[in-house]
Symmetry: C2
Subunit: 411 residues, 2 copies
């Protein structure tokens, strides 16, 4: 993409009411725009990052054998009354149609929709296990929305739901889903900072599990057992007598963290009120056993910025960066255009800075935007034998012969 | 994909309250599910069709030089008050936050969001022209929602907005956008039935233009000039004295049609209230000239079903079909599995019917689902020298040697 064609520009200042580091940097670099508290637009650069995260998640969900669907945002009150959450869920947006006097909820989560949907297709043990997921914006009437894109009133989630004949089958799927989540966090670049975390379980199971990514921007507190590489949410640490539930160690490290994913054994919590049942091999009716599994896409994007930035800007992990290469043309149009064409033809994603602005402005914008590799084509670099290559995450740069650049970047 | 892994099943009957042909067939074949009037879930097969339509539209918008963004659904009242549409737009969903007493609108269209957004990036003639689009669900509080997925209370649109320094530049872009729209309709298979249609223009221009697809399911009436291959919306036919605005002919053919796209010259209608201005080459401030361009994705999907079906089910155009090939295994597991693997490896999208049901049920489901090519592997076909190939749109079938199948399908 040509930077001259990008309608966004970097900005010196983020909005004054924006206190979070993630949103400040993302707004200044032109990835997102703040419409109001808790509500952001994804701009071209931001949407590219978003789609990379989305594709990684989609691949891992498909590898789990789950099929993708897309359920409505506009949901009828009656479904939410079946579970009692019409009144119990504080942050559910509720409103009426002007014309038809239908009462609607805005999708905050989709158990109330996916369970009645499955009731139309699941009848027998032969129809199970099955799993389905969607990637979609959700809405919550949050009291406060001050963490940038980490806690929005509108935000994107992947929600996966699994359906089983018995608890053992659910347990096995749950393990597989946890592994898939670890892959998602590894692949998006935040794996090292992300911990499988024991949290309170609710009605049906002793614990639920979260994935918590250690960050100063986090609203949660976790206690990490470095030996087992797991954590315990502050909310249950007393119940666990300050011990790691895996090795029993009391050597725990307390950190702030962001909940980037969660997995729940729902058991029959939602299949019971909606009467989602199946006939087992003996022909008797049983309630379907369920699991649900969420990942916040905005959160993943926001936490990556919180983890990977410096005073000059963002430092994207390559797997979710908007482009792999930021090609900076300093007055060498012919060579820069040829290199842009060659890199693009080689399948490398390039942002070409072809704007008529100063070298200093180009470098500052490049550091702010945070693309992993910066390649400068200048009179000086050509005289030295090629282009100047610099990683955003490192200080050093080197001159690379143009003929060697593609194979080096492809590695 | 293996049909045994698809959680949806075909159904004998659609819901009793579903009167439209498109939704009846899409529900029976398992492409969509009706949550309530005007609100549908896309199920795995339906989402595949949806994504094919989405990708065709995206490619044509990118070819127009427009960059993709994603704006919020949740929108502040204040933006809608600037244009007066908070009270004027009948079908705008309006509601309040419980906590913050913020008043929200649900995105019915995005001029109120995209214009203030552009105000942050457009200052000079050098920043223009520019164009941006999104593909997103929109919400309208429709009085009636009885046309299946053709008129939903929640529905998906591609909305493109273009920004210009002068009217001539807008006119040129508008022409290019109209051409891109024609490509979208051709590529999705409904081009032959779709007409560039003159419609009422509103405040700033004599006409606006719609793309109307001739269908009995349509809520609009158009008058077609077959010579010019254009149409006139019933709403302005009297103003035009029943004449074609291009050739003056009165030989017009009246048809029911579905509005699948529309393009408007907005001029300064929205830039004025939001004071979206630019400095021209002489340094004087002027209002930005705008165009907007919409395509309904659900409508395209629904109208394709209305146009292409028979008494047995849907007949998808290949470009938007969920799969190219429906591979029906009649008891020949080894050959069917090998063929499934070979076709998939050749990049051909295949739905393998590996279910343990009767041949009759497989054939009936295949006709209902409407995948362009049906390939049957049976004892009989193998004895005759290969597999039985049949187009969904034709009655005839033929035996094809397995070694010739891939090259034939790749054509």
């Amino acid at each position: 993409m040509r930077q001259s064609q990008l309608f966004t520009k970097t900005r010196k200042e983020a909005p004054k009411d924006e206190v979070s580091v993630n949103a400040q940097l993302l707004i200044r670099a032109g990835f997102v725009d703040k419409l109001m508290a808790g509500t952001y637009s994804f701009l071209p650069l931001g949407l590219r990052v978003f789609k990379k995260i989305e594709n990684i998640i989609r691949q891992e969900m498909e590898a789990l054998g789950a099929s993708e669907i897309l359920m409505p945002t506009l949901q009828p009150k009656e479904n939410w009354e079946v579970t009692g959450r019409w009144t119990q869920l504080d942050n559910l947006f509720r409103f009426a149609s002007y014309y038809s006097k239908i009462d609607y909820a805005l999708g905050a989560t989709h158990e109330e929709i996916v369970v009645p949907l499955m009731k139309k297709f699941v009848f027998s043990y032969k129809d199970l296990p099955t799993a389905t997921f969607q990637i979609q914006n959700k809405f919550r009437d949050e009291k406060r929305a001050k963490s940038g894109i980490l806690r929005g009133r509108e935000f994107f989630m992947k929600d996966l739901y699994s359906f089983h004949t018995n608890e053992k089958e659910l347990d096995e799927y749950y393990e597989k889903a946890a592994k898939a989540y670890e892959k998602v966090f590894q692949r998006t670049g935040v794996g090292e900072q992300t911990y499988f975390t024991y949290a309170s379980g609710g009605t049906f199971s002793k614990y639920s599990h979260e994935f918590q990514t250690v960050s100063e921007a986090g609203e949660d507190l976790i206690h990490i057992c470095d030996k087992c590489r797991v954590a315990i949410n502050e909310e249950i640490i007393t119940d666990l007598e300050n011990k790691c539930p895996q090795c029993g160690s009391t050597k725990l490290r307390k950190e702030k963290a962001v909940e980037t994913g969660n997995i729940f054994k729902l058991m029959t919590k939602y299949s019971k009120p909606f009467e989602l049942k199946f006939k087992d091999q003996e022909g008797s009716e049983k309630e379907v056993i369920m699991g649900c599994y969420g990942i916040g896409l905005n959160r993943l994007m926001g936490v990556a910025v919180e983890l990977f930035h410096d005073e000059r800007g963002i430092i994207w992990p390559a797997s979710i960066a908007p482009f792999l290469v930021h090609l900076i043309n300093l007055g060498q149009d012919e060579q820069a255009e040829k290199l842009y064409a060659d890199l693009t033809a080689a399948g490398i994603e390039v942002l070409l800075d072809d704007r008529e602005v100063s070298a200093g402005e180009k470098f500052a914008d490049s550091d702010l935007i945070g693309i992993p590799y910066r390649v400068v084509v200048s009179k000086k670099s050509l005289e030295a034998g090629g282009v100047e290559l610099k990683k955003r995450s490192e200080q050093a740069n080197e001159i690379i012969a143009i003929k060697d650049l593609i194979s080096l970047l492809k590695k």
